[in-house]
Every structure is written in C-alpha cells, then in structure tokens.
C-alpha cells in the first residue's frame, strides 16, 4: 500500500472502477517470464493465439512477435504450446 492510494471517502461505492482496465498493469504479478530464442522461433504465432492475456503481439513492421510485459503474468502457456520449444520460462 502506498500513500497515494485513495481513502474510503474518495472512491465511488460498490467497487466502481475509476480507471480503465488497460491502466491496471498486471504484469508485476509474474514470477517467471518468457524468454524467446529468435533462432528457434518460426513466427507461427501459436503463442499469440494461446496467450490468455493477449500479451503477445504480432508486429508487422518488424515481422516479429513482441511480449507486452505490462500484462504478461508469466503463466508459461506460450512456452508449453510452442511447437519448436523456442520459449523458455526464466525467473524474472
């Protein structure tokens, strides 16, 4: 808890959100983080589809994938699903 968090008098009732869900950076929940080997990766994009948080994006300009660590919770599903075993979960 930090000093800038609001008091009970400053917040709306019933847990009504005063921020959009995109502003809640949930990436700091993770213990493990995915580390990809670009050599092994075939850009099949299965990890993009399987990521439950939509935290892996296809970047057409780079013709490559990118992890969004603001929302990646380190669940390891991408590593598990990767057909070439290009993703390894490492203590982050």
């Amino acid at each position: 808890m930090t000093a800038k968090e609001k008091s009970w008098k400053e917040i709306a009732p019933a847990g009504v959100c005063w921020k959009s869900s995109t502003e809640f950076l949930t990436g700091d929940w993770k213990t493990y983080m995915p580390v990809r080997d670009p050599e092994k990766c075939t850009r099949c994009l299965l990890c993009v589809i399987f990521c439950p948080d939509g935290a892996i994006h296809w970047k057409p300009e780079k013709e490559d994938i990118e992890f969004d660590f603001n929302f990646c919770k380190g669940c390891g599903i991408c590593a598990n699903e990767c057909p070439t075993k290009a993703i390894e979960m490492k203590l982050g």
Binding site: M1, E5, K6, S7, W8, I11, A12, P13, A14, G15, V16, C17, W18, K19, S20
Partner: protein, 410 residues
C-alpha cells in the same frame, strides 16, 4: 394522530399487507421463489401482475439464490426491485445478500420470519434473519400487519436514499403475523406512489473521469462489484458502515414524513418505548411478541409495578444511542431473543443491548430470555414471570441465571 389522506381499511393478513404495499410502491421487478410462510406475498403479487394491476416484471426463478441475483442485477440498472423469502430460502440467498449490499443495490425484501432446519419447522422465530445480521442489510422487525404494510413502503425510501443505498429486510413473524387477518389502513395508490417517488442516483466518477449516475447504463458504462484486492477491499467495507450510520437518521426522517401522511407512528422509527419514562423494570423485544408484552405492562402498571418495554423496530443499524438513553435509568432489563447463537452465552439481541450499556457508569442488570423458538407460544403469564424475575433480581441484588429459556421443559 390523524394523517393527511383518507384511508381505506382492508382485512389483510401480514403477507397480504406486504404484497399490497409492494403493489402500491411502483416496483419494476419482483423475482421470487415460494417458501412458507412467505408464499402468500408472491402469490398475491403474481395475481396483481396477471390482472394487469401493476406494470411490474414478475420473474419466477429456480431458487432463492437466483431470485435475489435477478433483483440485484435489475436494481443495479436503476430498477426498483422487491422480493420475499423466509428460513431456508433466506439461507440459500446468503452469498447474494453480501453481493447485494456490497453492490449497494437497494433491494427491499420481506421476510416472514421462520425457524431453520433441522429438525424441520415451518413456524415463526428470528433464526433466519438473525443468521444474516452481518450481511449488510438494514433490518426492520414489525409488530403487526399494519406496521408490515407501512414499513415496506418506508423501506423503499430508506434503502434508495443516496446517503444510504443499502438493501433492506422487513421482518414479520411467520404465521403470527404472516397468516393472521387484521384491519389494515391503506393509503390511496397515488399517495404511496408520490411518497416513494422515483429512484435518485448519486453521481460518481467513472473510469473516463466523467460524472455519471450510479447505475449500470450502456450510455455511461461502469463496472460494479469487481475485484478489490487487499489495497482497496477494506475501504469499500468502511463505506458500507458509513451508509449504515447514515441510515439511522434517514429511517427516522422517512418514518416522520410517513407519519404525517398516515397518522401512524412507531416510536421514532428505530425504537418504540412503551411506558419507559419512569420504568424500573424493562424488557427489550422485537416483533409481534411486543404486543403481548404491552398488554402485560398495562396489567403491571395497574398493579403499581413500574414496568416498561423497549421495542426494537430497527435492529440494523443498531440504534445504540437510543438504547442507552431509554435504559440508562432502569434497574433491571430482560432482553428477549427469538433465536439462539449457540455457544455464545445468550442471543444476538442480548449481546448487542448489553454491549450498548457497557459504557454507562451505573449499569442496570441485564439478563436474557430466549423464547418462542420454532413457533412456540409465549403467554402473558410467562412474560409476567420475566418481570417477576427482574423484581427478584433487584430485591436480592443477584442474578440467578443470566440466560433463561422461556417455556422450555427442563
């Protein structure tokens, strides 16, 4: 005291009086599941719907859990929601009672108070609502069918007040009130409609920083009751406590305003003292038994005994200041509980009244009488016995038994 409007007198039992009040209160949705002794409430209401007497959406659900969930969801969109239940039905709602109060949805629910199984018993006691006392609902206990009618109408105004926004239970004793025919004075339809008015919504700041009414609205989307982790959950609970404190004055204010209209008063809306001004021996009780106690107080007064009764109409929020004020000069108090809190040395009303009096320099003796469980009759003779016990306590300056069971075979 005379009211401002002409009233009709109808022969209604407690359940019918509740249904009639809901009919007049411009309710948008009734979602319910039948259970004795509440069934008549929703039966009558479904007749009003079938006859086209109301424009209410009537939802027959598959369980009480669903009934309250439907009411909560409708209430969150801004609708006025009403339901009724009892005993096991209320117990099945347990989870959703907390979600409803946590979402600050002002649902009004009538409970025809009934015992909980096992062993199975359909008769009146307060076990069902007392088991839900910490669920964040306002709780009003009525003495007769007339008060059941009056309290349901008041409950909408209290619950929906923007300073309160809490759901409210109106409890009427199963069978003793729910199924007993009484003369009930009813207000004209338009007077009730005007009194309850339409729901008012406080403005809140949404996730885009915009001030919007506190309700679910596709034009101004908000999220209610989502996750609140250890850094915020506590703050939301503190808000509910504040709402309960606000309810104390709102209940009094709504009661006063209604009294102008109807000519009927129940103390200050929170507590109804009966011969308490100079009372030396007093009982505290909730619900229909107060009627019997009043008759006994009259007899004792005629005999020169300074007996009094403090009827607690509102149990949540607990009117602590009023309890202290009413009981501070009494010599001995008997608190009557129509439910048990197993292993806790007395019933819930006893604990709270005794706790309220702790800070008094000179405290009265306070003893507990558990009575009427599973619909057992409590006679005037037994209540007289309670007052005799109180006099004995003062005479001997000692309490023989702190917790007593009225009419129980030892």
């Amino acid at each position: 005291m005379k009211g401002n409007v002409k009233q009709e007198v109808l022969a209604l039992n407690g359940d019918e009086a509740v249904a009639y009040a809901a009919k007049q209160s411009d309710v948008d949705i009734v979602a319910a599941y039948p259970i004795t002794p509440q069934t008549i409430i929703v039966e009558r209401f479904s007749e009003y719907v079938a006859n086209g007497e109301v424009e209410t959406e009537f939802v027959c659900t598959e369980s009480e859990h669903s009934a309250l969930t439907a009411c909560l969801a409708a209430s969150a969109t801004g609708a006025r929601a009403f339901t009724a239940s009892a005993s096991a039905g209320l117990a099945l709602m347990h989870e959703m009672l907390f979600v409803t109060s946590g979402c600050r949805a002002p649902v009004v629910m009538a409970i025809a108070n009934r015992a909980l199984s096992a062993p199975l018993n359909i008769h009146g006691d307060h076990s069902d609502t007392m088991a839900q006392r910490d669920s964040g609902w306002i709780q009003i206990y009525v003495e007769n069918a007339q008060e059941a009618y009056d309290s349901v109408i008041q409950a909408f105004r209290i619950a929906e007040n923007p300073e309160v926004l809490l759901p409210a239970i109106v409890g009427l004793d199963g069978f003793t009130l729910s199924h007993t025919l009484e003369n009930v004075g009813v207000l004209p339809d338009d007077a009730v409609k005007k009194f309850v008015g339409t729901r008012q919504f406080p403005l809140i700041t949404n996730h885009k920083g915009k001030k919007v009414p506190f309700r679910l609205d596709p034009e101004n989307p908000t999220t209610m009751g989502p996750i609140a982790l250890p850094n915020y959950y506590f703050e939301f609970k503190r808000q509910q406590e504040e709402a309960m404190k606000n309810a104390l004055s709102v209940i009094r204010q709504v009661h006063d305003e209604y009294a102008q209209l109807s000519g009927r008063r129940y103390g200050d809306g929170l507590l109804e003292p009966y011969h308490m001004d100079d009372a030396e021996f007093a009982t505290v009780c909730l619900g229909s038994t107060a009627g019997t106690v009043k008759a006994v107080v009259d007899e004792l007064r005629a005999e020169g005994v300074k007996a009094g009764l403090l009827r607690m109409r509102t149990f949540r929020p607990l009117p602590v200041e009023g309890i202290v004020e009413a009981l501070k000069n009494v010599k001995a108090v008997a608190v009557m509980d129509r439910s048990m809190s197993f292993g806790s040395h007395g019933g819930p009303v006893f604990h709270e009244v005794r706790h309220a009096l702790y800070d008094l320099g000179k405290r009265p003796y306070v003893v507990n009488y558990v009575y009427g469980l599973g619909g057992r009759d409590t006679s005037p003779t037994q209540i007289r016995g309670i007052y005799e016990d109180l006099q004995k306590i003062i005479k001997t300056k000692s309490v023989e038994k702190l917790v007593n069971y009225v009419g129980l075979r030892e």
